[in-house]
């Protein structure tokens, strides 16, 4: 901000002495150490008798709380020293040629905040201009830029609000539909908040919109609570990763819910997750059922789930004969290798 102020001063200064009559059109080039040549393009400035602009510039300077502490003039050379309330100081040394058609100036800034810096400026008069008309044109241009900027900011804010609304709705839907993936980073990082990637993602989202974080985190809590009910657990398909993210285990949920499910004959839950409690019902209603048989009725889903899960349970010893035979064959082959 201060840099912009000094640059304005630097541009304005030479013309204080020549600002009279019709406007003079100057082409001014600025450069700074370390900045590639041509990075700051030459500016054309119309300088002349425009009381309104002079008043605007003075007002701007007064605002900055900087004062001219010394001013020396010797022929075509002017040296001005300034100091500002924040402790920074600036010295401008400016030299015109005899015809006052060219100048060169150097600005040295010493500032605790911005550091030390030197800026040079060269200018040449390239013609005449109408200072009032140019100012009006520039003011109109600036007005338009300001309006465009304001419109862009408003559009950006609206877009951000839209994005936030969408994210918040997505988290709400995720909780309603028990769709853990819908929480995105709030779900993935639920149990890994200290993971560097999670931390940086969550921080970035928090900065972007604290409302999203607040709403989504609340929905995750809601989800986790529902996950520990039979209905929620079923909808989330008993996912162990989700259980871990919620700070529980599927085993603890089953242990808590299976006795309740047995009491109420909650068939869907029993068939999938409570083999021991489901066994008596299965023995009555699922015996002889083949995977491809058409059965229907209220036990259909129960039997399908139960038989699939039960098929992975260790069977009584007699039915493991086949496997034993396989092992025995393998042992025979090994024995053969040893020449027996």
């Amino acid at each position: 901000m201060r840099m912009r102020f000094f640059a304005t001063v630097l541009v304005a200064l030479p013309f204080a002495a020549v600002a009279q009559g019709s406007g003079e059109l100057w082409e001014i080039t600025m450069s700074m150490p370390g900045m590639p040549a041509g990075m700051m393009p030459a500016q054309r400035v119309c300088q002349g008798d425009d009381p309104e602009r002079a008043a605007q510039q003075q007002k701007g300077r007064d605002k900055k709380d900087c004062k001219v502490t010394d001013r020396k003039q010797s022929g075509n050379r002017t040296t001005v020293s300034m100091s500002c309330s924040d402790g920074s100081t600036m010295v401008i040394d400016q030299q015109f040629n005899a015809a006052r058609t060219e100048f060169k100036s150097t600005m040295s800034l010493k500032s605790k905040k911005d550091g030390d810096m030197t800026m040079t400026q060269t200018g040449r008069k390239v013609g005449t201009c109408d200072a009032v008309a140019t100012r009006k044109e520039r003011d109109a241009h600036m007005d338009k830029i300001n309006k465009d900027m304001a419109a862009m900011q408003a559009a950006g804010a609206a877009e951000q609000k839209k994005f936030a609304d969408r994210q918040i709705k997505q988290c709400a839907d995720a909780a309603t539909n028990m769709d853990w993936r819908g929480f995105g980073v709030y779900g993935q990082c639920r149990a890994n908040k200290t993971d560097p990637n999670c931390k940086s993602s969550l921080d970035a989202f928090d900065k972007m919109s604290p409302e999203i974080a607040k709403s989504c985190n609340a929905r995750v809590v809601e989800y986790c609570k529902r996950f520990q009910t039979q209905e929620g657990f079923l909808k989330a398909r008993g996912d162990e990763t989700i259980a871990q993210a919620c700070g529980v285990t599927t085993a603890s949920i089953k242990a808590a819910e299976c006795p309740k499910a047995a009491k109420t004959e909650a068939l869907s839950f029993l068939g999938r997750y409570c083999l021991a409690e489901a066994k008596p019902i299965a023995q009555q209603n699922c015996v002889g059922r083949d995977y491809t048989s058409k059965m229907g009725g209220k036990y259909n889903d129960f039997c399908t789930a139960y038989l699939a899960q039960a098929s992975l349970e260790k069977p009584p010893a007699s039915t493991t004969d086949q496997v034993k035979q396989g092992v025995s064959k393998g042992m025979d082959k090994l024995k053969g290798l040893f020449g027996r």
Partner: protein, 260 residues
């Protein structure tokens, strides 16, 4: 003594290379379950066992890689030797190679498989299968029949079948066919065949894609099951699994629910 040490060392090394959980050793002579390419569980994954119709995965792969599925194929007399599941092709009938592939994948039809194999490679087709297997790194697989009939010296492993299935899964056309519950193919002169997929999971298990069933007396019930839910893919290979459908559903359910 040296021989004993070598055998034990090889045995231990083999065990170490497959230090994967085997929570269900009783369900099949061999099985392997992968989720998103990572092995979750496996039992006897390197046991050499007959493949039954899972051999058709290789036949289908070769047909798909060869392309030219619009090409007309004249059914040869070889189909008369096809046993097991058949759709009733007659020598001299003409079908597109694509329709023969459809019948091979969807219905596991041995006559269609035989006609396709004869068309592509004739008597050297089995050699082509074994060459392709070698290139894929299926080091414990040897084919002796294009369609998986029990033959002496024909074997594969759950590990190799997983690799083969993953290669086949790269072909969208295979996945399209494997998903079909029903399909109809026609000879070029219009005789049609209604096919019903042999994979009982289709239409019953949510998210199932395929891939191939197999059964012979020597191999027992075999299955390569692939399912996808919420972008997660689970592949289960079962060899000689008496309860293959129930087991497959149980394994898929548990694989989807297991901690990631």
């Amino acid at each position: 003594m040296v021989r004993l040490a070598l055998v034990l060392a090889a045995w231990l090394a083999g065990g170490a290379a497959h230090a994967v959980d085997d929570p269900y050793p009783w369900i099949a002579a061999a099985y392997l379950v992968k989720r998103d390419g990572v092995v979750l569980w496996a039992g006897q994954p390197d046991a050499k066992l007959p493949p039954a119709s899972l051999a058709k995965l290789m036949t289908a792969l070769i047909a798909l890689e060869r392309g030219k599925l619009d090409e007309p194929v004249t059914v040869g007399r070889g189909v008369l030797q096809a046993t097991g599941t058949r759709i009733g092709l007659k020598p001299g009938e003409k079908l597109s190679a694509g329709d023969l592939l459809t019948a091979t994948v969807v219905r596991s039809a041995n006559d269609a498989c035989r006609a396709l194999a004869d068309h592509i490679g004739g008597k050297s087709f089995v050699r082509t299968m074994n060459q392709r297997a070698a290139v894929l790194g299926l080091t414990s697989t040897r084919f002796a029949d294009p369609c998986g009939h029990d033959r002496d010296g024909q074997y594969t492993t759950a590990t190799d079948l997983t690799l083969l299935a993953e290669q086949v899964m790269r072909h969208d056309e295979y996945l399209r066919l494997a998903r079909l519950e029903r399909a109809t193919i026609r000879t070029l002169d219009g005789r049609s065949f209604a096919l019903r997929n042999t994979n009982a999971l289709l239409g019953r298990y949510p998210g199932v894609i395929g891939l191939k069933t197999g059964y012979t007396e020597g191999a027992g019930n075999c299955l390569v099951a692939l399912a996808e839910r919420d972008g997660v893919r689970v592949l289960a290979v079962l060899l000689n699994a008496p309860n293959r459908w129930w087991n497959a559903v149980g394994l898929l359910d548990r694989a989807f629910a297991a901690a990631r």
